[in-house]
């Protein structure tokens, strides 16, 4: 039994690239973010914009993000991103992202996100609440 892997292909745009002609590092974190949302949509059948209201949460904010840059991604490269939940913890989870170009791994990274609700103790703040078992279930694949 494994974990659902979400795949998406996209092309590196002119505006993604810096004067070295390669994707500027911050853009990869945009790619990761969007792929995480789409992975949830693929697993749960819920539009990203409806995820919070559907599950009574405020959102899935990031508490940690990282990336290793192995090969530069250049203007017009066709990139393939593969994203999966590598671990569910009680009220947070880890999303692993791998971006490949021409079949070679170019960037790998991860995000730690919280399944977050309004904090009853502090209405301006958030707190993690348990990820529903039914959610975790939907990420399992035979």
């Amino acid at each position: 039994m494994g974990s659902l892997v979400f795949h998406r292909q996209f092309t590196v745009e002119w505006g993604h690239c810096d004067p070295a002609g390669i994707v500027f590092n911050s853009r990869f974190f945009e790619f990761f973010d969007w792929s995480a949302w789409l992975m949830f949509e693929a697993a749960l059948g819920v539009r990203p914009a409806d995820l919070a209201s559907r599950f009574g949460i405020v959102g899935i904010p990031l508490v940690d993000a990282k990336a290793r840059f192995l090969k530069p991604a250049k203007f017009n490269d066709v990139a393939e991103i593969a994203s999966q939940v590598s671990e569910f913890r009680r009220s947070s989870f880890e999303v692993a992202h791998r971006i490949s170009i021409d079949g070679e791994l170019a960037v790998e990274g991860s995000e730690t996100r919280v399944w977050a609700a309004r904090d009853p103790q502090n209405p301006a703040g958030l707190k993690g609440i348990p990820v529903p078992a039914a959610v975790m279930e939907r990420f399992k694949v035979a």
Copy 2:
């Protein structure tokens, strides 16, 4: 009698630039936006984050933006932006922006923004309401 001009200096960053080594066009609209907020702060003495609540509006959304690119702005160039309200209309206003590098005009542009409140007829929408005379007054300089 003239109109208050807000000035700010900033340096062009690596991440602002594209593979041609010059500022990617969308970034200028970020510079315009932030300068518009700071111009309001300079005129009214109200922090950008407090502008809406202070005046009972939802915000000052854009309905039009334009720019002419006369000279490229390159990595590390020191840019000077000058922003002013070029016209107040009943419930909207025009902000003119000029970005100069080494004393030469590099980009000129403008934004049309609305003084916008929640639309009582349609709570999901916004409508322009009259810009208060006291606000307009603060943009006049002797």
Copy 3:
């Protein structure tokens, strides 16, 4: 006889949106830019990254960009962009962009771009050179 229209569909991402929950204005100029490149690819069968070398130019830099925002674009909206060259001049051209959501026009804008080569008089600068007739021809549709 008309002019080729390039169409692309995309979904508004979380990272495109501002605290008002709508696409931040500078993002539309990213969408315009990328659609202009893809329109050239569709018309000429040349990858964006090969456009300059294929035609002996340095690029197609912007000299003017503008947008009118008619309806907000929100997180998760499915947007349809339609881009076409609305006019070829001697060494520049105008690209008209229309972004629709649910069949309603949300943003319309345009870019003026130059068919630009290295300036022999000033190697650090660029100058417009005539757009080849064969290029213009490829944008015509019966």
Copy 4:
């Protein structure tokens, strides 16, 4: 003996923030990048745009970036970034970044960068070369 710490203050802009009203994660990697360049300028007295040519390198590309988000940064927050080289290795180095708001740590992160020259074996590629001792020396403070 310690290591030079570069400090910069900036204000969180509307365009930095997402629909949750807080800085979108990718923006922090823009802040890190720019602060790394300015730290080099502070240490070496060389403009970012001249760093490569001054030292016969191609640049200081990133091979790794990470961030931990401890407290959200909101629109209009005044952020203070402190950046320093936490370790010089033979041909790479680690830059540690800390972003504080109201004196409280909000984000901490790091970048691993390479002191990179054109690879003589593969002109399309880069390779790390030793960081000059004179460069490392300039980051030491009594």
